[in-house]
């Protein structure tokens, strides 16, 4: 029973079936979605950690993989993320109480001077779906805000995004400031104009060419 529910939940997230009212996918029309199945699973006594690890993370991992292989594109990935969020809403009390342990905290923001948020939001959702607590600082994030949030969340990993050649250069002072107060903090950077060479040059620990590459890096450092 519990395995069946988790498989069903995983399928809902993978294909973007948010709740019973969602008409998509057509073959699941009228059936329970991620919202109702998560509630049902908790009522059936399935551990919230099993829901996270054996349904949500599994599903989002498949979604990330399919995106990397160009089998799906951003709208499908965002629909899956929306279904995941509907499920995750039921798990939030268990995260708060400590009943469910996540892999760690991930602080994410778009570097100062840059107002782009699509890539940052997309990666943040994939990281949450990979089992991390995400602290989203938004766009145009100043150095001081990154530093302050790192100080408030020891052990957190930091992700910095930039979409412009004129703002990617702002990443280095952010990295320098974080490393100055917390040399062990791991930092990953991403964004269209970046490369792994550039990431190395500015002192980042990781570079994500696409969301899945970033998730793989995060899993590696948290293992």
């Amino acid at each position: 029973m519990s395995l069946e529910l988790l498989e069903k939940l995983s399928e809902c997230v993978e294909f973007g079936k948010i709740n019973q009212a969602s008409p998509y996918p057509p073959q699941m029309k009228g059936q329970s979605g991620a919202d109702e199945i998560t509630k049902e699973a908790l009522e059936a006594g399935i551990a919230p950690s099993d829901i996270l690890n054996n349904a949500l993370i599994t599903a989002m991992n498949k979604v990330g993989q399919k995106y990397t292989e160009n089998k799906i594109f951003v709208p499908q990935m965002l629909l899956s993320a929306k279904a995941m969020s509907a499920s995750m809403a039921h798990l939030k009390p268990f995260f708060a109480s400590g009943a469910v342990q996540r892999k760690g905290k991930f602080i994410i923001g778009t570097v100062f001077g840059d107002l782009h948020d699509i890539g940052k939001n997309l990666f943040g959702m994939m990281v949450e779906g990979a089992g991390w607590e995400v602290i989203d600082l938004g766009i145009d994030v100043k150095i001081e805000k990154f530093v302050e949030t790192v100080q408030q969340n020891p052990g957190a990993v930091v992700g910095i995004s930039a979409l412009l050649t004129t703002t990617m250069v702002n990443m280095k002072p952010v990295i320098d400031a974080i490393k100055a107060i917390s040399p062990d903090t791991k930092i990953i950077v991403g964004g269209a104009p970046l490369s792994s060479d550039f990431a190395s040059q500015i002192g980042a620990d990781g570079y994500g060419k696409n969301p899945q590459e970033g998730i793989v890096w995060l899993d590696k450092i948290s293992a």
């Binding site: 996918p25 709208p75 965002l78 050649t165």
Partner: protein, 238 residues
């Protein structure tokens, strides 16, 4: 202001089609029932802006761009177009320096959708804004082609700072060159245009100008909007 040839459009005049939006989203193969498809369809049917979409250009005589240095001298200013763009317009002896904006509406709507958790819809709204401003520029570019064609002149593709190796930092010089205009677009310190759904750039004009395709095959910017809309633009034969 007098030199700026201004255009204004309603959303209906420059709205992308459903197929164009789905192509842009790489979602042409999605089922009719997919929420992305229904959202695109409903949005394009219902969207009704009362703010105008504005654009235009100034025409300037130019000294022939130098593909060796990548520099272009205009009105005692130097644009660092880069060797690639200079090569594309090297036969031009005149150029249209353009601006166009779809206004703040798309970004505001996308932000609202994001805040209420409708992340896919926010992404699509942002994409519709990007396509709308490009469609408005298609119209302006088409009008320019007709106008200069009467004098036996041809136009190039359009090129923008941040693309085809034209440094984004050149926006400041480009805005200085265009001067006062009706679009209301401003630049941040990092050369980001506000409203965000705006475009700027250059179109070469000349009698001997040859058409050059965009150099997407030799560029590694996978997220470039021109790579995504190139098929549509070329099919318009601008």
């Amino acid at each position: 202001m007098n030199d700026f040839c201004a255009y204004s459009f309603s959303f209906g005049e420059v709205a992308p089609t459903i197929d164009e939006v789905l192509d842009f989203l790489q979602s042409s193969d999605l089922e009719e029932e997919h929420p992305a498809v229904t959202f695109v369809r409903d949005t394009l049917n219902e969207l009704n802006f009362d703010t105008a979409i504005r654009g235009g250009y100034v025409l300037k005589d130019i000294n022939f761009p130098d593909p060796k240095t990548g520099l272009l001298q205009v009105d005692n200013m130097t644009l660092n177009l880069g060797r690639q763009v200079c090569g594309y317009i090297k036969e031009a002896n005149q150029a249209a320096f353009f601006l166009c904006t779809a206004g703040e509406g798309f970004t505001q709507m996308a932000n609202r959708l994001n805040e209420q958790g409708d992340i896919m819809e926010a992404y699509i709204m942002d994409a519709i804004g990007s396509l709308t401003v490009e469609k408005a520029m298609d119209k302006i570019q088409g009008a320019l082609k007709t106008q200069v064609g009467k004098n036996g002149l041809k136009i190039s593709n359009r090129y923008s700072p941040g693309y085809c190796n034209w440094p984004l930092s050149d926006q400041k010089t480009l805005f200085d060159l265009i001067g006062e205009n009706t679009t209301g677009i401003s630049l941040t310190d990092s050369c980001l245009m506000i409203p965000r759904k705006s475009v700027s750039g250059v179109i070469g004009i000349g009698q001997e100008l040859k058409h050059h395709d965009y150099g997407c095959a030799i560029c590694n910017n996978a997220t470039c909007i021109y790579r995504k809309i190139i098929a549509r633009t070329e099919s318009h034969d601008l």
